[in-house]
């Protein structure tokens, strides 16, 4: 069932484990703040995956030094660009989630979504 590269790809394996931890936090935690932390863990895990994929043994960061422009000298620049874009997206999403949390807390004085739903039902609106 498992393929040949599980232990060579240990970085990717760890990032996948982190992804699932973040995913389950986002799905299962009752506390909103912890859900948001889970979201961040999930996103960074994907970026770790991408960074691992861009890495090539014995090569350096893609910043041209001394005019050397051979492919053999530098790592793959594409994943870095994707991750840069992704980090900004996850910051924006985090800010939105946190501000929603603040608004909900101001109104209902709790961070538990089920409790909020219950209060809403009691409110009858």
């Amino acid at each position: 069932m498992f393929g040949p590269n599980l232990f060579t790809n240990y970085g990717e394996a760890v990032s996948v484990i982190l992804f699932v931890i973040g995913f389950s936090n986002l799905l299962l935690q009752k506390n909103l703040i912890k859900k948001i932390i889970g979201l961040n863990i999930m996103d960074t895990a994907v970026y770790l995956f991408l960074a691992e994929k861009g890495y090539i043994r014995d090569r350096v960061a893609p910043i041209v030094v001394d005019g050397i422009q051979e492919v053999e000298a530098y790592i793959n620049p594409v994943p870095s660009g994707l991750v840069l874009t992704g980090i900004v997206v996850s910051v924006s999403v985090t800010a939105i989630m946190l501000s929603l949390t603040i608004r909900l807390y101001r109104r209902y004085h709790t961070l538990d979504l089920d409790e909020i739903s219950m209060l809403l039902k009691k409110e009858g609106r």
Binding site: V46, V78, V93, L100, R103, L113
Partner: protein, 497 residues
């Protein structure tokens, strides 16, 4: 290169630019700019559609100075242009129909922010429709999600906050799955551009390499987009979000936002992975089962509901189930039926939301069925429109819903294993649909003499009545012109290839 080929690019950039400009404009100017934008994009898409039908060839457009695998790229075919036109039409009508409620329910100093959200929503929808690059699709999926969240909670009451946060949690789960599958796909193929990925995937499949990760990737991709478009077990945010947000938002959310994701999924089926590989895989069976479950569950929940807006929202769950069932058939006919149902559902659902608001307005803003008794007499136009929408949902000939149900039935007949369940559930779901929609229609046409609610005449709300007439005409047009539309979908799918 013809000048018309610039139009997809113009419409995306124009809508983003209007969003940016709206941030410093006063409310009225922002509203005018928004209307102008939607009309302009609609006209451009219409011209593009005519042009593409003439040439019969899709074209790609470089975003920058670099050709295909290096730079970004957008691509337009008949289906894309038609979808853009249709989205603009629905958006225009939804904004027009909900304008009065918008002024009442959204705080004065936040209305121009609302128009920014709508502008950027349009840009993200257009980008999702036209893009030829998976990572661009991811970025615009995020814009779509965030603007949808903004649309939900712009009416600042407790319910909408709760709905917005549930919506965000669900769609972020979906985005995470989408992103991780995107990365795996990039790792396997080394490309982000749809056409190149398709070539590489076909080569991999022919050589039989990397079968396990490829299938996993496809599964995660489908799961991510299914979660985002509220397929059955992931719909918990939907009733509150559609039921309590301001009416323009509800209409746009149900008819545009989820459809944008579904259109992206179709695009991925055809342009990224290849329809043959999808049709052979087991993944579509899963989609099929969840589609069927959604059809039944959505309808039964809608029957139990005592709130007209929430009832319509639950009906959306059922309709999304129809669309995924069409995917699950794994045939060309099933896809055609699904795409047609996307159109028909978008037109009908926004009509129902806008009409329902007219009915509740004529009943002191109460939304329980008891209070709605006789409201069709107090607001005649809304009553007629709601009836038309319900008939279309149930599947009355002449209206659009009938055609899509017919297409689904045709697609499933002759299928070896899936014919029986598909046809049975289709029939059951139609009966359930009829129960709850006809119940509502009868309720609103029962005379109620005791009521002291005010009557709303057409003269008082000309824009609203105009919107409803347009919606009804659109619905009838979709029902009557099914043959040319089918031809259009077929040629569009062929252009995907």
């Amino acid at each position: 290169m013809d000048f018309i080929q610039n139009f997809p690019f113009f419409s995306i950039i124009l809508s983003m630019f209007s969003g940016i400009v709206s941030s410093v404009l006063p409310v009225k100017a922002a509203r005018r700019l928004n209307t102008f934008l939607i009309v302009a994009v609609g006209v451009m898409s219409g011209i593009l559609l005519v042009y593409l039908t003439g040439t019969g060839e899709p074209f790609v457009y470089w975003m920058g100075h670099f050709p295909a695998p290096w730079g970004n790229e957008i691509r337009a075919g008949v289906l894309e242009a038609g979808m853009a036109l249709f989205f603009c039409l629905i958006m225009f009508l939804s904004m027009l129909g909900g304008r009065r409620q918008l002024a009442e329910e959204v705080a004065e100093n936040k209305q121009n922010l609302y128009y920014i959200l709508v502008d950027l929503l349009l840009s993200s929808l257009l980008a999702l429709v036209y893009t030829n690059d998976l990572f661009t699709a991811y970025v615009f999926v995020e814009i779509n999600t965030i603007s949808a969240c903004g649309l939900i909670m712009v009416r600042e009451i407790g319910r909408t906050f709760e709905a917005a946060i549930r919506y965000m949690i669900m769609s972020l789960l979906g985005s995470g799955l989408f992103l991780v599958s995107l990365c795996m796909l990039y790792d396997l193929t080394g490309h982000l551009l749809m056409s190149n990925i398709k070539e590489s995937v076909a080569a991999l499949a022919a050589r039989g390499e990397y079968t396990v990760p490829l299938m996993t990737t496809i599964g995660l991709l489908c799961a991510g987009l299914a979660i985002k478009s509220a397929l059955f077990p992931f719909h918990s945010w939907l009733p509150d979000a559609y039921g309590y947000s301001t009416v323009s938002s509800a209409a746009m959310l149900s008819s545009l936002v989820s459809k944008g994701y579904i259109f992206l999924l179709i695009k991925i089926f055809y342009r990224v992975i290849g329809f043959e590989i999808i049709a052979q895989s087991k993944i579509i069976n899963v989609l099929f089962i969840f589609g069927l479950l959604g059809m039944i569950f959505g309808s039964t929940s809608a029957i139990q509901e005592n709130d007209i807006r929430r009832m319509i929202a639950f009906s959306s769950v059922a309709q999304i189930g129809y669309i995924y069932m069409g995917f699950g058939l794994g045939t060309e006919a099933g896809m055609t039926a699904s795409i047609f149902h996307m159109l028909s559902h978008a037109a009908t659902k926004s009509l129902l939301f806008v009409a329902a608001v007219g009915l509740t307005d004529a009943s002191k803003g109460r939304r329980e069925f008891v209070e709605l008794t006789g409201s069709a007499y107090r607001n005649k136009m809304a009553g007629i429109a709601f009836t038309v929408g319900s008939l279309s949902m149930v599947g009355m000939p002449m209206f659009s819903g009938f055609v899509s149900k017919l297409l689904f039935a045709e697609a499933s007949i002759g299928h070896a294993h899936k014919m029986l369940p598909a046809v049975l559930v289709l029939a059951l779901s139609t009966i359930l649909n009829a129960i709850y929609f006809m119940k509502t229609v009868i309720r609103i046409y029962v005379p109620d003499y005791r009521s002291d609610c005010r009557t709303i005449t057409i003269k008082k709300q000309k824009a609203y009545a105009f919107t409803l007439v347009c919606f009804i005409l659109l619905n009838v047009a979709l029902g009557m012109l099914s043959k040319p539309l089918e031809g259009w979908i077929h040629s569009g799918l062929a252009m995907f290839g």
